[in-house]
């Protein structure tokens, strides 16, 4: 096996890669889509297996132990998938045909699309969009439509109730989720997911500021992916199976895949936005430069952007592993919550979302904005609401230019490669701590 590979002309391989990946945008998109899909399916396989094993562990059971013994029984998920594929695709009598058939794909597709913006490792982003996180917000709103369609078209009152619950819940929790995301965007000053991670990588302490946002994101994220205690759309003890009650076969599997894929994605996104993504908060760079003796400075271009070719593949692979480990760790927490908590009631869920989580999220946004303005010199006239709402510290900086050469937007790593330990001096126009507190008093007397 693999003999044909060795006989291939290396030049041909190089040519092929060049054509497919670098020079041909269509081919590249195609490859990226296939790779993302494969990654997602494999991840779902693992997530389902993990869910069952974690649940079993918490419940003092053994868990799945039949199929694929040499792979730690991970093949059980595959066997289940094959079984579902072979099942008959049923449509209930009186169901609304087209919405019923289309709904699973409307749920499945966004779950897969969202993976495009995940930074798996440095420079390994399937599609590093300028509007990265905005793309997620847009895409994550689509499944609601699919779920509502599924619930409506199934000609089943339980499905309908599930669909309605899902619409109410998912739309409500998108708002607090957005406040947490905006906080991150405000702090790091970019929408690109890759750049957000890079910013955390070079300034580890930024993660501390977004810690409350992380908790808000986690709670709202739990609700977004409908996991216990927010699993109301498919609360099996109340709504039989909720919106997917009438689905069978591969369409049911699509819902299922989307759900588990979303669970992983929300963990991966939490890691990306709050927990340093693929990075080890600068420890990795320090280790590479001080212990391994690598020239980490050469990884960066003149503007501080990463140069893909100059970073060793080993390093990228290591970061990829770090990313996976972190994501699965967060996912484990979600599972832990799921298998410990009872389920909330729909009115309690909505009350909590609108009356507790949203105000807290807004306050947190205020706090992070103030921190961004105070510590990083972010923002200009848009920081004025902060002043009005009683964070006079923000007043000191509201007139600072947007990209006033603040350290975050133009990371200039030191040759030692440990940017964390050696913050660059603030360029003119970027007030740092002392300056801000000096103007703090001024702002007060001035008003």
């Amino acid at each position: 096996m693999g003999a044909w590979l060795t006989q291939l002309d290396p030049k041909f391989l190089e040519l092929w890669t060049n054509i497919t990946l670098h020079n041909n945008p269509v081919m590249r998109s195609f490859m990226v889509a296939i790779l993302s899909l494969v990654f997602m399916l494999v991840v779902v396989l693992v997530v389902i297996w993990m869910e069952r094993k974690v649940a079993a562990d918490i419940q003092s059971r053994i868990g799945v132990y039949r199929t694929g013994g040499i792979f730690c029984f991970i093949l059980q998920s595959l066997a289940d998938g094959v079984k579902l594929l072979l099942k008959e695709d049923l449509k209930p009598k009186g169901a609304d045909k087209w919405p019923y058939y289309v709904a699973p794909y409307l749920v499945f597709l966004p779950a897969f699309l969202a993976y495009l913006i995940l930074p798996f490792s440095a420079t390994w982003v399937p599609q590093d969009l300028k509007v990265g996180i905005l793309f997620y917000s847009a895409v994550s709103a689509i499944p609601v439509l699919g779920i509502a369609m599924a619930g409506w078209s199934s000609n089943n009152k339980w499905s309908l109730l599930g669909g309605l619950r899902a619409s109410a819940q998912l739309i409500s929790y998108e708002v607090p989720l957005a406040t947490a995301i905006i906080a991150v965007v405000a702090l790091h000053g970019t929408l690109e997911t890759g750049a957000i991670v890079q910013s955390q990588w070079q300034h580890w302490w930024l993660g501390l500021i977004t810690l409350p946002s992380f908790l808000i994101f986690l709670v709202a994220g739990l609700a977004e992916v409908s996991r216990t205690p927010f699993d109301l759309p498919e609360a099996e003890s109340e709504l039989v199976s909720g919106f997917n009650t009438e689905y069978s076969g591969m369409r049911f599997a699509s819902f299922f895949l989307a759900e588990f894929s979303a669970s992983f994605f929300i963990s991966a996104l939490a890691v990306t936005l709050f927990l340093g993504g693929w990075s080890l908060w600068g420890i990795d760079t320090w280790f590479a430069s001080h212990v391994l003796g690598w020239n980490t400075a050469s990884w960066f271009g003149v503007n501080g952007q990463l140069i893909p070719a100059s970073i060793p593949l080993l390093m990228k692979a290591f970061w990829f592993v770090v990313f996976l480990v972190k994501s699965f760790a967060v996912l484990w927490v979600l599972m832990w919550i799921k298998w410990t908590m009872p389920r909330l009631r729909i009115d309690q869920v909505l009350n909590f979302g609108w009356k507790v989580l949203l105000p807290v999220g807004l306050l947190n946004l205020l706090f992070v904005s103030a921190a961004a303005a105070l510590l990083l010199g972010r923002g200009h006239s848009s920081a004025q609401p902060g002043i009005l709402l009683g964070t006079p510290a923000a007043a000191a900086t509201y007139s600072a230019p947007v990209t006033g050469g603040c350290p975050m937007l133009s990371p200039t790593p030191t040759p030692q490669g440990c940017p964390v330990m050696s913050p660059t001096a603030p360029p003119p126009g970027c007030p740092m701590y002392g300056m801000a507190s000096k103007e703090f008093g001024h702002a007060q007397t001035g008003h």
């Binding site: 918490i58 003092s60 216990t228 099996e236 009872p342 009631r345 729909i346």
Partner: protein
């Protein structure tokens, strides 16, 4: 028949007696069950929903009707005991006990001292097993899947103990006229004590997971309220009654077997909601352990079965016996014409009566509350439909 209220006007002309206010287009009629994950068997609830709010609820029963009472009329007295096992299959010991006690009243037989204590001990073990299963299913109804497994794990130990004494794990047929089927095997008492010690530790685990859990409290506090007066008027019994603050427990007020000789307290909670019923059952399980310990300590040596003729022919007459089963008062009426078969057997089943208050507890609440309330009154369809 109350079902008539739930005809859908589009498909069926409303019956004359249907109030005009019930026919509207803001509400939905939903059939919850008989095949539904949390109606505990084959209960069917006809719901009238306004969005998720329950306007009205009518239980429809009879899907598990097996005609036990009629069957009993063509069986000998002894042959009826296994039928009683299948009434409330989660507390078969109490079903046995109620029926056997009624027949013993007819016979006027004296139960040996050892058997009296043994009966009380296994009955309380049964209560423990039944309440553990309630705890499991109640938690699952609220969505706590892990707490579904933990009590089952401990219940297995009780079933093992039962298997040792009578060979069966669910339908025991253990309590007989004039005593019990057989004496306990060697070392059984020690194994019970070992189990009880373990169980006491496990209560801490349950309470850690549920009692202080904000989600659990939010789902139960103030849900499914029924006042003490209403509970009495509905004829409720068992933890459902005591959860409304009514201090009534047949083990105390009309004790059978050795209940009169042991010290225990009747557990009540005044709130009348799901959480109060949860509280009562959790406390009762601890009391059960106290009772079992006393019984096993006081149990004298001796026979476990009174001398009775092989063919049992009670003198003509009537007898009524009632015991405090885990779900409430289980009453048995037996009429004898002097033959070897009962003339009439009638069961008063606690779940059937407790179910009557369901509409009052659920109306005005949310759909999810039905599941919580149904779990908290702990119905068993086997005894409702009989």
């Amino acid at each position: 028949m109350a079902l008539r209220d739930f005809r859908i006007p589009e498909f069926d002309a409303p019956p004359v007696e249907l109030p005009v206010s019930e026919v509207d287009h803001d509400t939905t009629i939903v059939s919850m069950g008989p095949q539904h994950p949390s109606t505990h068997g084959v209960l069917r609830l006809m719901l009238k929903l306004d969005g998720e709010t329950v306007v009205k609820l009518v239980p429809v029963i009879g899907y598990l009707h097996r005609g036990t009472e009629k069957l009993a009329e063509s069986r000998t007295y002894t042959m009826v005991i296994p039928y009683t096992d299948r009434l409330d299959y989660l507390s078969s010991m109490y079903m046995n006990l109620g029926y056997v006690w009624a027949v013993e009243k007819l016979l006027g037989v004296e139960v040996p001292e050892r058997a009296r204590y043994l009966r009380t001990a296994v009955a309380e073990l049964q209560r423990l097993a039944s309440h553990l299963l309630w705890l499991a299913s109640f938690s699952l109804d609220l969505g706590a899947a892990t707490m579904f497994i933990y009590p089952f794990r401990e219940r297995e130990d009780i079933l093992d103990l039962f298997e040792e004494i009578c060979g069966a794990r669910l339908t025991y047929n253990y309590i007989r006229f004039g005593g019990v089927m057989a004496d306990v095997p060697a070392g059984w008492v020690e194994r019970v004590e070992k189990y009880l010690t373990l169980q006491e530790q496990r209560f801490v685990e349950y309470e850690n997971i549920l009692t202080g859990n904000p989600v659990f409290v939010a789902r139960n506090k103030g849900v499914g309220y029924i006042s003490g007066a209403d509970a009495i008027n509905h004829g409720l019994s068992g933890p459902t009654l005591r959860g409304s603050g009514v201090d009534f427990d047949l083990r105390k007020h009309d004790p059978c077997d050795a209940y009169g000789d042991v010290e225990f307290k009747v557990c009540t909670a005044p709130e009348g909601d799901c959480f109060a019923r949860y509280r009562v059952r959790m406390d009762e399980m601890r009391e059960s352990i106290i009772i079992i310990r006393q019984c096993l300590a006081k149990m004298p040596e001796g026979d476990v079965l009174a001398k009775l003729p092989r063919a049992i022919k009670p003198p003509a007459g009537e007898a009524y016996a009632r015991v405090e089963a885990p779900r409430g008062i289980f009453g048995v009426f037996v009429a004898s014409d002097g033959s070897n078969q009962p003339l009439r057997v009638r069961f008063r089943s606690p779940s059937f009566v407790n179910l009557s208050a369901l509409n009052q507890m659920c109306a005005g609440g949310k759909l999810a509350d039905i599941v919580a309330v149904l779990g908290s009154i702990d119905i068993i369809l086997g005894e409702i439909d009989r």
